[in-house]
Amino acid sequence: MGSLRDVLSPFTAWKHVIETPVTIKNPIGREAADRYRGFHQNDTDKCIGCGSCEDICQNAAIDMIPVDNPKDGDSGLRPQIDYGRCCWCALCVDVCMTGSLTMSNEYTWVDSDPDAFRFIPGVDKMPWDDFEKGYERQGDRMLSGLTRPEMAELEPEARIGNFDEIVAGYSREQAVLEADRCVECGLCVATCPAHMDIPDYIAAIREGDYDLGTQILYETNPFSEVCGRVCTHKCETVCAAQYEGEPIAIRWLKRHIIDNVSEERRLEIVGTPQVLPTGQKVAVVGAGPAGLTAAYDLARSGHAVTVFEAQDKPGGMMRYGIPEYRLPYDALDRDIAVIKAQGVEIKTGTRIGTDITLDQLKADYDATVLSIGLHLGRSTRVPGSDAPGVEAAIDLLRRITAGEEVPVPKKVAVIGGGNVAMDIARSMARLQKQKFGEVGVTVTALEDFDHFLADKEEVTESFEEGIEILDARGPQEIVTFKSGKRKGHVKGLRTWKVTSIFDEQGRFTPQYDEGDEMVHEVEMVVEAIGQMADISLLGDELTEALEWNRGRIAVDADGHTSEPWLWGGGDAVHGPDVIHAVADGHKIAASVNVALMAKAEAEK
């Protein structure tokens, strides 16, 4: 210890005397690193206000605040960040479902007002809003799943010769995986016409509590088994998960719950009306989704409900419009059984106007609900459209369901590009396969594939089943035999190429390229270009008395028509699908219920 070297060596530090002293750098004016996590930026156009950032923030630094002019499918909220709480962990950026929330690399900002450090990025303009540098997620989000489990379906060869249900439904493992992806933002609830409590029933799947799931479904929708199969799932079009990856398969999850609860258990869970009978009577015309939903609600409110149905079985368009391979009849029957269990009486085979008149209903019942659907097919009215061999899609579908004999020729053309066109094309293809062993269906649609009306999966599955779909073709004439044994009968369909469908004002005025003509040789042409309501049951007097809105019965926000005793809903009034009809049913039931209570009060 204590050698001379040990005494002298420390003095080598003197060499630093002539150097600039070292210390830490001055942060003012120094730019942070490229991926520094500084003040937030939010692309408010991209942001949907799902609130996942608020959910994940462990400091509760984020509040969702209403902003002006939200876009469609947007909560109208934007994250406000309190920098007195923010710890700059950027989990909000990592979890962001659209990738709109990022962080700039700005970290110095001086203001004497403490409240200035609580603001809405993107809305409250800040100097760093346009900074390119800063923290953003590398690639797609990692904190929740991107893809759906693949749904098992019948292979095209296995399904084309029969009407068996195509979609198998999720297994428990698949459903849990899919339910896990939900961030519970609730944008779907706002978008669903019936405002089904989607995040909660998805949570019930995660918990494995199917009883609770069923209970939640029935709070807003007595047709959950139907909607679990054929709903147009508007909810999925606003799902926060769709911006990176696929939207949550909400429809299939709904089906998964109901598939896992037996019919008996379902009746136990839903139970029967828990109120005293009011002694009031309601008539419902049409046993479709709107009428039966209204009947369900009204029966549970203690009213005696009778549903009149012209067809042999209840269900309306769900039974007579939707083919069995999409919606098996027993699934529909189970939903209707629960409704019947509420004490709803359904009189099938009873046509209003023929078997009983509306005036009688008006006299015998305290209120009448009109939910008659759209059961008349529209015609193209092109030359030859009245020839034998021209059919209306809606009529054919009904006859197929009812088990009636329908003509099945080798070659069929379908006019139309919507889901009904696909339904009839695929139904005819199945019948052809059964009869001839091969498919010969051509669908001609006005719209091109970029603007197609039918669902994507309908088109894909139709192609898989060997159906020919020609897009952007307008019908010009249904060619008929001019002579011979089959004189007057359909010989083919002549179409032109469509160049545009709407004019500049957005009116329907299709334009054609006459040079691009095709004649499809077929023995049957099916028109599937839309339906209308059969309003003959109203009678002249009532038709005259009612207010109308572009050919449909006019109703107020509650579904009340201009006649005090009559309510209207479903496709005949609003359209276009089951879930809208269900929503209409609830609305009408609420309105009828209020009116009946007022009536009872007045009669006391």
């Binding site: 520094y36 996590r37 994940i56």
Partner: protein, 392 residues
Amino acid sequence: MFSFQPDRSQYPDVGPDGKFEIDLETGKFLKLWHGPNHPGITGNMSVELTVNGDEVVEGYTHVGYLHRGFEKLMERRTFIQVFPIVCRVCVPEPDFNEYCYAAAVEELAGIEVPEEANWIRTLILEMGRFNSYMMAMGGIAGALGNGVIGQWMTYVRDLMLDRFEELTGARIYHMFILPGGVRAGLPEGFEARMEEVLQTAERYLDDVEKVLFTNAVFKKRTKGVGYIDPKLFESYGVTGPNARAGGVAKDVRKDSPYLVYDQLSFEVPVEQDSDIWARSIVRYRDLRLTIDLIRQILAKMPKGGEVMTSLPNVLHWKIPRGETYIKGESSRGEYGYYLVTDGSGYPRRVNVRGPSYTHAMALLEHLIPGTNIADVAALMVSLHTYPPEIER
């Protein structure tokens, strides 16, 4: 040999129970509070000294100035929400918290981490060790009156913080090691800039060797002072450089390799004397080793691949019932996270095992009696403790 130090054997008297009999009324003794605000205290804690002249006859450690209740806070946060707060458990070397927590969650949730992420995690842990040792070097020199080394080390540490900033997006609390991997790969040109920092560090460390370790005063003040009997290591839970300075070659990196340490070649530095000098020199050599390890990692690691696994939806992430203990070798010794899960969306219990707890409280109390006032700071810094991790 002539000594300035007086004969201390006469005070204080030992009572029949073997304990010192300290009567403050006699005027022979004085209570002296060392901290919580004192440059020689490594953070927010204090030592209550009883001195006789300049000799310390008794010392009690007091903590509680920095208790934030993190372990309880974690029980009220989802698994992903715990991630941003763990780093705050230990301010000067936060990354071990991130690594241990992430690894514990990954083990219980059955998540595989991409290979490259493990290399980046190792790199970050070594960069954190580098910074921590820089503070230790500056601290031990400063505690013995050699302030300039503290300035140099702070400067070099600042350069490493720049590298942290460009790699992780933050300087102190990096919040970069997420359950499932790390947030990003290396930025463009990172290796070259890191090499510059390492060379600067080496230049300054050469100076440290000349100014601190070849220094009669430093040797005089540290050799033989603050001796820890290696027999106490087991009972006092002494790990890390403090144990290695006493001839016990304990190092989790070697003994039970984690991350990619089994793919790196290194020898753990060991000293025998178990005094302040030995502990300082072990840290110095370990710091040199860290520089070498950073170079090895950058040379050997895969680049440009995946660094993060997709996680289940973290907003309702539930982890099956289980428990695990994940440990690593921090700059102060064995650092570990004990995580218990009960199948819910929240940790049932998180316990942080920080080496400072034993070193700064029980061990320090044991070592203090018999030292003199001026040595207490050096003794404490030589144990290299961080109060935030004691109190959590």
